[in-house]
Symmetry: C2
Subunit: 421 residues, 2 copies
């Protein structure tokens, strides 16, 4: 059957067809057709039997994708236990982040705790202190929603200039998963909040405990006690068996291995929320509570780790946008460092506090580009330039940098992290 059909297409057709794909493909396509015994190779390939269904009860990516993994930057932090790695967003598309390559940040390492061992206590200013087993949690009505999580330190190195040459490292402390769990409101109402309760203090089972204070208003709004991410159990490094989901707010508040929720009258001001995650302004005064992650976007391809390899002609420019204050309404892309802008196409309407994928389908003339993206959210907030951000916040910060990122795309298709003065 195949042979019969294949004979209808001549070698000349292959050449012309490759050309038809676009000007930039002409050279590459022709080279393939000239050197490759294309059809024979494929026919031979098709004879072999592949791998059966018992090979991978739980599958991993194919070997060709072995570079699409979380990566650490050795010099960035002292040790890997309290360190971070980064999501390979340069190589991903769509909006969901698989748990296997979603970045990790631990303060005392990822702990291995079974569902049987797990306990969650709610106490403090409540009518009745409660301790839940994992099985208890599964008996409450469940909710389900997709949210991004961004580390407060994501893009933090950019305050001091273009230091990390890859979007995985400048913007990879982010992921986006579909969570299933119980609302924090459900559990708090089970315990009964006393009138003087205004905050909840949450902490994890790990050695750092990573305690954070959350205003009661947020706790009762959209926070979740999550036990599934992207359909399956949370991975160990994402807080198995239970993590807190604090939609739109800095990742550090999404306490993993959640063990304790205390209703308090005032914020605890724990080590984890005073020694870290505050923003020292130009005048030396620290901005204390920066919970919501402001609207932000970045071009993920082309980018330093994802150069243009096909020459000029049709080019898909793509990236991610998100806002901790609502949905992404619009993303603009600039090829000339912000002088002119084109409105990108959103793959789907922006969703509340979740990643939005954008595309700009363009025709590259092969000249240099200073590639940028700029997000606008449902509150009308517009992502600022790096200089605009520095004017307001100074240079002392390491957290909460949501500036417009610039990639210098060269004539050979390679890209570099640069800063526009």
């Amino acid at each position: 059957m195949s042979d019969k059909h294949l004979k209808n297409v001549s070698r000349r057709d292959f050449l012309s067809s490759a050309a038809a794909v676009g000007a930039g493909t002409l050279a590459g396509g022709a080279a393939h057709a000239a050197g490759d015994p294309l059809i024979l190779e494929k026919q031979e390939f098709a004879q072999g039997l592949g791998v059966g269904v018992d090979e991978t009860p739980y599958g991993l990516p194919i070997s060709y994708e072995k570079d699409v993994v979380r990566r650490n930057v050795e010099w960035l932090t002292a040790d890997t236990i309290s360190s971070i790695n980064f999501t390979p967003i340069h190589a991903l598309d769509g909006t969901i982040t698989p748990q296997g390559c979603a970045f990790e940040r631990h303060h005392s390492g990822a702990i291995e705790m079974s569902k049987d061992e797990y306990r969650l206590m709610i106490h403090g200013l409540v009518d009745e202190p409660l301790i839940f087993t994992y099985a208890d949690l599964e008996r409450f009505p469940r909710v389900q929603k997709t949210f991004f999580l961004e580390c407060a330190a994501n893009t933090g190195m950019e305050w001091a200039g273009a230091q990390l040459n890859g979007v995985q490292f400048t913007h990879g402390m982010i992921h986006n998963m579909e969570y299933t769990g119980v609302t924090l409101r459900t559990l708090l109402e089970e315990a009964g909040i006393k009138p003087e309760g205004k905050w909840v203090y949450v902490e994890g089972h790990d050695a750092s405990s990573n305690g954070r204070s959350i205003p009661l208003e947020k706790a009762l709004d959209d926070c979740m006690i999550a036990f599934k991410a992207n359909g399956e159990a949370l991975r160990m490094e994402h807080g198995y068996p239970v993590r807190l989901v604090v939609p739109g707010w800095e990742g550090n508040m999404w306490v993993k291995w959640l063990r304790r929720i205390e209703v308090t009258e005032i914020a605890v001001e724990s080590r984890e929320e005073t020694s870290k995650y505050t923003d020292v302004l130009e005048n030396g005064i620290a901005r204390k509570w920066t919970w919501e992650m402001d609207a932000k976007s970045v071009v993920t391809s082309p980018s330093p780790q994802s150069p243009i390899t096909h020459g000029k002609g049709p080019l898909v420019i793509t990236g991610l946008a998100w806002s901790g204050r609502g949905a992404i309404e619009r993303v603009d892309v600039s090829k000339d460092g912000g002088m002119t802008w084109e409105t990108a196409r959103l793959a789907a309407p922006g969703q509340d506090k979740a990643l939005t994928r954008f595309y700009l389908d363009t025709d590259w003339d092969g000249s240099e580009m200073l590639l940028q993206s700029r997000a606008m959210d449902s509150e009308g907030y517009v992502q600022p330039t790096k200089n605009e951000l520095r004017e307001v916040r100074g240079l002392n910060s390491i957290y909460h940098n949501n500036c417009i990122q610039t990639w210098h795309v060269k004539e050979n298709g390679e890209a570099e992290n640069v800063e526009i003065s």
Copy 2:
């Protein structure tokens, strides 16, 4: 800090709090509190450092979840190369299926093909035959959407009665992923369809080639040439680097390792669409083209592999619903084998040709249940009972069984696959 707070809660509080969770929890909760040095254990646990970020560049599920994997049924097919395994839907929640545990079905095994080796040919009744490299495909405008894929043989064993005791095996030939790719329409328009072209014949690079005919109308409607699933590259077993997505239609048409698209005047009637996937009716005549998967649902928990372990009291009944003809509008749940029905809560409004999660939050009195679910889609179609389906289709079929499933939940919480006469 922790000690101070923990002292506020007495042992008596633990007991009363466990009781507060619900009647069914009383026994279990009290047992824990009596036997366990609960708080001390946790405090000690918190001292140890966990695992650092370099441990798992690409992560896998925690060891405690090692049973949540794809499983094969040995006696069901002759060999694992041409066999199937099943998604562990009894242990999942939400709607996304991670690629690592999404069921596989191959006709000649999963093949390992690199992006460099990959070619896709479009020919036949087109103005210009085309061959695309993988890099070519990435230069076309991309789209993105979540769709379910169901094997035509899913639930097929139920035609002959309740044979497989687990929802993983009766309904596990399904998954739901967010796909990114190029529309088939885009590529067909690039080649130019001649007026006499009415069908496309698609086949894969694997030895079976798995050729299927698709009416041009569907090909131009919502079919996708997908290269990402759930954000990352397709796994080998799901068609790396490129598979066809045929939303709502039987899984066999979603050709993996897609190599060839021929525009034809009539259907090819290949081996793969005549020897298989046709439904032999009562009178011996075969219903040939059953492409759309009719509306269907199933309770995933409680179910034979997910018994009730906590006794009576609050119970979350949950499951999945889907329709190849549109969105799920409503799901009803029965506890008495279809005599009375309660409308379930949808976790989110049903989406076109994608899985919908439903919940029934109930209070179990500890008596036996005959648990069923019944889906209704946006076309007003209602999922039939097994007997209703048999009346129309007879007993010769092995494919396209979308009947209402019954689990017999016993007083001890265990569940069994049963049939109601």
